[in-house]
């Protein structure tokens, strides 16, 4: 697993693969205030990002990888639901 779950925090580490998305989605739904720490993430499969976009958890840290941070920020800025 490249996502580490600690209480209501999910730490993304290195490369988060496509398989992690389902567990992430399930996890977020069980938490009332999920927080996502992306600092150590270097790449996340878009399936995971989709989950973040659809569930809107609090992002407690953006990826240190600036390029990835830009992509994810742009994704979370778009909101077709609103």
């Amino acid at each position: 697993m490249t996502i580490e779950y600690v209480k209501n925090r999910a730490h993304f580490r290195d490369v988060v693969s496509v398989e992690d998305a389902e567990a992430l989605l399930a996890w977020i739904q069980t938490k009332s205030k999920p927080r996502i720490d992306l600092a150590d993430c270097t790449h996340a499969h878009p399936a995971n990002i989709q989950v973040l976009m659809a569930t809107r958890p609090t992002i407690s840290a953006w990826p240190r990888d600036e390029d990835l941070a830009r992509w994810i920020q742009s994704a979370l800025a778009s909101n077709p639901n609103s």
Binding site: T2, E22, L25, H45, A54, L68, S78, P80
Partner: protein, 890 residues
């Protein structure tokens, strides 16, 4: 090693296997486009996956293979044996790299040159297409933006637009890349984000949701709902090459620089701008660019930075940098500033860099238009279906999503707002009336005019792959809304069937389960002993009965469990067979022979251990057959046989054994040569040379150290072949027989047990000890009167059914100084066992029951005791030693 890499390596084996298989199949059907597609997909996915890791040597070769297969698929390169050879070589190399990654976690840098050589040899076949890779079949047609309203450029931050504008003044045009991945793309191993991140010379990028997210409970995170928008300053060819494997999902539009010059922001400061405008205008008319810029800067300081006015002034400054375009572009911007809205750059749209290629005003093809019309009509039909309370909102939403998709595709974003309104009204009333009215009013207006009404507003959609299967969904990147909607409504039903049907389980886990079940069988066997004790020691017959009844139940369950775990361990022989097409092909070509391989009964199953032990012997046999058996095509023709030889490998289940026949129609084995060779090697005596029958002589090839090949080749002939085969097969309680007819071919038959896990043994008693003897080797059990035992010289023998059977004391063989006991009728117990083709009687004390045991081989210090096949734990806790009859007799 990280789990991703581990998974990649384990998958790579499947990929390599699959690629090899498909190549073999293509050899027989070189024009089968389905096969080619399948092969391409395999290579493509494999390459895609490899790109996740830093193994350039690996990816380079796979990339070349992918390009080549792509060319083959597109019929630009013809499939040939040479091509297959090179691809197979390349895949072998990839397999080697994967192994080395698995061993050391890295690739030895020295293989880089091999990698380059192999890629080159593959690219060579692609020929001049090499440079234009991806250009010809997939080329996203040239598209140049002529109307700024077609792209959401105003959503790009101003800083990025300024940078893009400056870049577009330089070397290469800036392209708007819109990547709309297929909804199912995650399942094909695509990572669109990774692909997008690697886009060359990205200026700006974003990722947006394509449509509203489903409620969490229904959200399918593996259905791609993302669009990727990018501005890249790379040359078009570079971008096309980068996205060539998803070219049908990508739109690349060259954006002339001035389209970036869109002032954005709040309208608050308009008065300040209007005040400055006359002097700016005057400076522009005088051609005083420096003055203009200075004035713009001065005005800029006076207005709020986030206002439209400030943005316009900043653009004025940027546009003034460019001397060539300046007069026109500055003039337009100034005019726009007066109006307070963005300049309409499309009037400038004869692009200075590549004029003439503009075809973006071309309408949709008639087929696409028809599809769209049909789609819209279907929506109306859906809306007019009888109202069903529970479904209506879902229907309305689905229709609305589809229509929105159509509008996007048609570029009629102006109608979006009214559609939303109608949808909301319909939803609120749970009546489709409002939406139908909107549909009739907006899209399905007077029929003859319809086509025209849609036509002009369609944007260019050159990226369309005119795939006939999905005319409607392929209509434009935006129009996959219907597909996605469909998928979403269908999801609940396929949730149950989702997920893989099979599991990959580590063998150690199965073995553990197996051992545990074995132990349970053993402890279950303790119950009858307990029942006996209950009766004899504690005198409770009822309890004994109850224990026995319980035992019967546990016994049945245990047997079923055992059976189930056996099934898990069962593997089809195709696991071994799958390597033969390649082996036969390569070997026969190396030898200049023409051999056709026929495989039958590949789905026959047997225990994993058996199947695995079959591999090497089979390879030996097949190689022998290719090397010694088949003649060269000329020789075959001269002998009146077809030039192509046939090698048949057939597996079948017979009772509780798997039988594998390997039959060739080659030259067969010449018994005379075999005899002569065997004599030369000292394997047989001179006098037996004449006595041996032909069939007997042929069996000599199983003797250790026997080889008929004149020359030791790298294929066979080192004299280890057939005797190794025999040993390996016998190790798993199998047998080998051979038949051959000179000039007509050879047939070898391997017979193996289905499973090794449970051994059926008979318990015998000798010198007060109990031993197990595998039932496989027992022919019969008889009691022979002492008087019927005759001595021939020093050997004891008896006559059974008219046949002389030599007898041995088991005690003597085990070095126990006791004679076998005689029962009250003066009879000796004789266990007749099979030793190869001979029979032998073992004199023992008594016979007991037969039992199923889990045989544990002897290990460690006891491992060399050949007389024992192993040991087993009995239900009462005692150890049963199981004899290995073959090894027992010196």
């Amino acid at each position: 090693m990280n789990p991703l890499l581990e998974q990649f390596l384990s998958e790579s084996k499947d990929f390599l296997q699959g690629i090899g298989e498909k190549l073999m199949q293509l050899e027989d059907a070189p024009n089968d486009s389905e096969l080619m597609d399948a092969l391409f997909r395999l290579v493509h996915t494999f390459k895609g996956n490899s790109g996740l890791f830093e193994f350039p040597e690996l990816t380079r070769v796979l990339h070349a293979a992918e390009t080549l297969m792509d060319a083959v698929r597109e019929r630009e390169v013809h499939y040939s044996r040479d091509l297959a050879d090179r691809l197979l070589d390349a895949m072998d190399f990839v397999g080697m790299l994967c192994d080395s990654i698995a061993d050391t976690g890295a690739i030895d840098p020295s293989v880089a040159s091999d990698s380059a050589r192999l890629s080159e040899s593959l690219m060579e076949l692609v020929g001049d297409r090499g440079e234009a890779a991806g250009e010809t079949p997939f080329a996203v047609r040239e598209e140049v933006l002529t109307d700024g309203a077609l792209l959401p450029l105003s959503e790009v931050p101003e800083a990025a637009r300024i940078e893009a504008y400056r870049l577009s003044r330089g070397e290469s045009a800036v392209h708007w890349v819109e990547y709309v991945p297929e909804a199912e793309c995650f399942f094909q191993g695509d990572d669109p984000l990774f692909q997008s991140r690697k886009t060359p010379k990205l200026v700006w990028s974003r990722m947006v949701a394509r449509e509203a997210w489903a409620p969490l409970a229904e959200l399918d995170c593996y259905r791609c709902n993302l669009n990727f928008h990018m501005l890249a300053a790379a040359a078009r060819a570079e971008l096309v090459a980068h996205f060539r494997f998803v070219a049908d999902q990508v739109r690349i539009v060259a954006v002339p620089g001035y389209f970036f010059a869109l002032p954005t922001g709040s309208a608050s400061e308009h008065a300040a701008l209007e005040a400055a405008l006359p002097s700016l205008r005057a400076l522009f008319d005088d051609g005083d660019v420096a003055g203009l810029r200075a004035k713009a800067k001065a005005t800029l300081e006076a207005v709020a930075a986030n206002s439209w006015a400030a943005s316009a002034l900043r653009w004025l400054d940027v546009l003034a940098e460019d001397t060539a375009e300046r007069p026109k572009s500055l003039g337009m911007l100034l005019m726009a500033m007066a109006d307070g809205k963005g300049p309409d750059w499309s009037t400038l749209a004869a692009p200075p860099d590549d004029a003439g290629v503009t075809d973006s005003s071309s309408p949709l093809s008639p087929e696409e238009l028809d599809a769209m019309v049909a789609l819209v009509r279907v929506q109306r039909d859906i809306l007019s279906l009888p109202r069903e309370a529970g479904w209506q909102p879902g229907r309305i939403k689905a229709v609305a999503a589809t229509l929105a998709g159509c509008l996007r595709a048609a570029g009629r974003t102006d109608a979006m707002a009214s559609l939303d309104e109608a949808t909301e009204k319909s939803l609120a009333e749970t009546q489709s009336g409002a939406l139908v009215a909107w549909l009739d009013g907006t899209l399905l207006e007077p029929k003859p005019a319809r086509r025209h009404s849609l036509h002009p507003s369609f944007p260019s959609s050159e990226t369309i792959s005119s795939s006939p299967a999905a005319p409607a969904t392929g209509a434009s990147p935006g129009s996959d809304a219907p597909m996605a909607t469909e998928g979403r409504t269908a999801r609940p039903s396929d949730e149950g069937q989702g997920g893989p049907k099979s599991l990959k389980v580590d063998q150690a886990k199965i073995d553990r389960l197996m051992n545990l079940i074995g132990e349970m069988v053993v402890s279950k066997n303790a119950l009858p002993y307990l029942a006996a004790r209950a009766e004899t020691v504690f005198g409770s017959r009822d309890l004994s009965k109850e224990i026995k009844a319980q035992y019967a139940v546990i016994n049945r369950i245990a047997e079923e469990m055992q059976d189930a775990i056996m099934q898990v361990r069962m593997m089809p022989v195709s696991f071994v067979f799958q390597r033969f097409p390649r082996l036969v092909r390569d070997t026969s070509r190396k030898l200049g022979k023409d051999v056709q391989l026929v495989l039958e009964g590949e789905d026959t199953e047997a225990d994993k251990l058996i199947i695995e032990s079959l591999g090497d012997p089979l390879v030996h046999i097949v190689r022998n057959s290719l090397d010694h058996g088949f003649e060269l095509p000329e020789v075959r023709q001269a002998a009146g046989k077809p030039a192509t030889g046939t090698l048949l490998i057939r597996a079948a289940q017979e009772a509780d054994r798997v039988v594998i026949d390997i039959r060739d129609d080659g030259r067969g084995i010449d018994p005379e040569i075999v005899k002569r060779k065997a004599y030369e090697k000292g394997l047989i005596e001179e006098d037996s040379v004449d006595r041996l029958s032909d069939q007997e002589a042929i069996q000599l090839i199983f003797a250790p150290g026997f080889s008929t090949a004149e020359v030791v080749s790298d294929l066979s002939g080192r004299g280890v072949g057939m005797d190794a085969v025999k040993t390996a097969i016998e190790r798993v309680n199998g047998s080998v027989t051979i038949e051959s007819k000179k000039g007509h071919g050879t047939s070898i038959r391997l017979s193996l047990p289905l499973s090794m896990a449970v051994t059926n043994v008979m318990i015998i008693e000798s010198a007060g000890q109990r031993f197990g003897v595998p039932l496989d080797s027992i022919v019969e059990t008889v009691r022979v009167p002492r008087t019927s035992i005759k001595a021939i010289k020093r050997e004891q023998t008896t006559v059974l059914r008219g046949r002389i059977v030599p007898l041995r004391q088991l005690n003597t063989l085990l070095a126990i100084a006791e004679d076998a006991q005689v029962n009250e009728h003066g009879e000796l117990a004789v266990l007749v066992v099979r030793l190869g083709d001979e029979l032998l009687g073992l004199l023992i004390d008594d016979f007991h029951e037969t039992v199923d045991i889990i045989l544990k081989p002897m290990t460690g210090v006891l491992g060399h005791l050949g007389a024992y096949a192993g040991s087993a734990l009995m239900g009462d806790g005692s150890i049963l030693m199981v004899l290995n009859v073959n090894e027992l007799i010196p």
